[in-house]
């Protein structure tokens, strides 16, 4: 298995949700990664579509940037519908 690249596997189920990361595997190329992903991650009807992405091609945010990236969302409660007090008489909204 020396030097077989690592692939990240994404599966879309039959209920309309987006492709979801399910794990990874080693394969020589994209075709074999797809075939192996079928065997490893869809033995029980888990999916109807598979994406395989070379792990090295993924750019990820760094844990150290967590505050800079996600902190600004914390004080913007007005982005949530529950922030607004609407009278029941207004009906469905």
């Amino acid at each position: 298995m020396s030097n077989w690249p690592l692939w990240e596997i994404f599966i879309r189920g039959e209920h309309g949700l987006a492709h979801r990361h399910v794990g990874s595997l080693h394969a020589v190329d994209a075709g074999q990664a797809l075939m192996n992903a079928r065997d490893v991650y869809t033995r029980r009807h888990e999916g109807l579509s598979i994406w395989v992405v070379k792990a090295g091609d993924i750019t990820a945010s760094a844990p150290g940037d967590k505050d800079a990236l996600f902190e600004p969302a914390n004080d913007k409660v007005y982005r949530h519908p529950s922030f607004y007090d609407i009278p029941d008489d207004a009906g469905a909204m």
Binding site: S2, W4, S24, L25, D29, R43
Partner: protein, 333 residues
């Protein structure tokens, strides 16, 4: 368990006050139940212990295919055969999920494979016992997978994200394994006297090794305490062993089989069964490489690895050639 007696390199568990800043922030995250992810800072000992534990678990899944593989070609019916094939295929899958989780900690798959093949890495003691009759397929599913589930269900909540997620996938599939084993036992116990005797013989041989899977009592073990503080071990060995016994004894009664332990007694005060002495000397012999099948299992893994080398090399050579051809066509166009 599938990972037994995992060492942590701790001589005692540090208090929060004794930790440096990084360690304290880490421990407080673990205490709050926040998952640790691959790129997060983690103590060296946590990383090393997890690599040991997850890879032992993975090796156990892979070696665990061998005792059952022994009966695929001799399953009594076609249906039993496809079920056993599916189960053994699941074990391979579980091994892959776990190797994937271990690799996120910075160890390579080739290194893990090399550790298993050279005998440096451990795997569960249980897979070093022989499968002598078809009833052993029933006993393994019922007892061995049953014991594994006891340990794996709590590990779904462990602190390391990739390990916890792998455990969730494993647990979803594992319940089929235990039920198909119990189903085999039920068929044998409802069959002829000879079939029932075969089921009893399998229980007689697998009972004690299944109890040993949980490992020796560890309430005074520093490694166990450290692993619990890190939330990569959730329960004590005896705690899980007793839970397993309490669950399994009534199932044996349902089958009409006798648990091979003359000291087994219901303890009203504890609300749990008392069991007889476990032969830990046998356990240490098996873990140390001297079980009935240790050499055979390692030889089988090494042979499979060597026999498959030409195929793995061929796949890689073909992929390289295809890529080179596509590149030269791209340049020509």
């Amino acid at each position: 368990m599938y990972a037994q007696m995992v060492k942590t390199e701790a001589d005692r568990v540090k208090t929060l006050a004794e930790m440096d800043e990084c360690e304290r922030v880490f421990q407080e995250r673990v205490d709050r139940g926040v998952k640790i992810e691959p790129k997060d800072w983690m103590p060296d000992g946590y990383r090393k212990t997890l690599i040991r534990q997850i890879s032992q678990h993975a090796h156990s899944e892979i070696v665990g295919q061998l005792p059952e593989g022994n009966w695929i070609s001799r399953a009594p019916t076609l249906q039993r055969k496809v079920i056993l094939l599916a189960k053994v295929q699941d074990e391979a899958g579980h091994g892959l999920y776990l190797y994937g989780a271990a690799e996120t900690l910075g160890v390579s798959r080739d290194e893990l494979t090399a550790q298993l093949l050279s005998g440096r890495a451990k795997y569960s003691s249980i897979f070093n016992y022989p499968t002598l009759s078809w009833a052993d397929m029933g006993a393994i599913g019922w007892l061995v997978d049953g014991a594994a589930i006891m340990n794996q269900v709590p590990l779904q909540r462990c602190s390391y994200g990739p390990y916890a997620r792998a455990m969730i996938k494993v647990c979803k599939e594992e319940s089929f394994h235990q039920r198909q084993g119990f189903d085999i036992m039920m068929s044998l116990c409802r069959g002829s006297a000879a079939q029932k005797a075969m089921a009893q013989d399998a229980l007689d041989r697998w009972w004690a090794p299944s109890l040993m899977m949980f490992g020796p009592p560890d309430e005074h073990s520093v490694h166990s305490a450290q692993s619990k503080a890190w939330k990569i071990k959730i329960n004590g060995n005896d705690e899980l062993r007793h839970k397993f016994v309490d669950q399994t004894v009534p199932q044996a009664k349902l089958l009409g089989l006798e648990i091979p332990d003359p000291d087994l007694r219901w303890n009203e005060a504890r609300g749990s069964y008392d069991i007889g002495q476990i032969d830990w000397e046998e356990f240490f012999q098996v873990v140390g490489g001297n079980g009935p099948c240790n050499r055979e299992r390692l030889a089988a893994r090494n042979k499979a690895h060597e026999d498959g080398a030409w195929f793995r090399d061929g796949l890689m050579a073909h992929a390289d050639k295809t890529k080179a051809r596509q590149q030269s066509q791209g340049e020509a166009a």
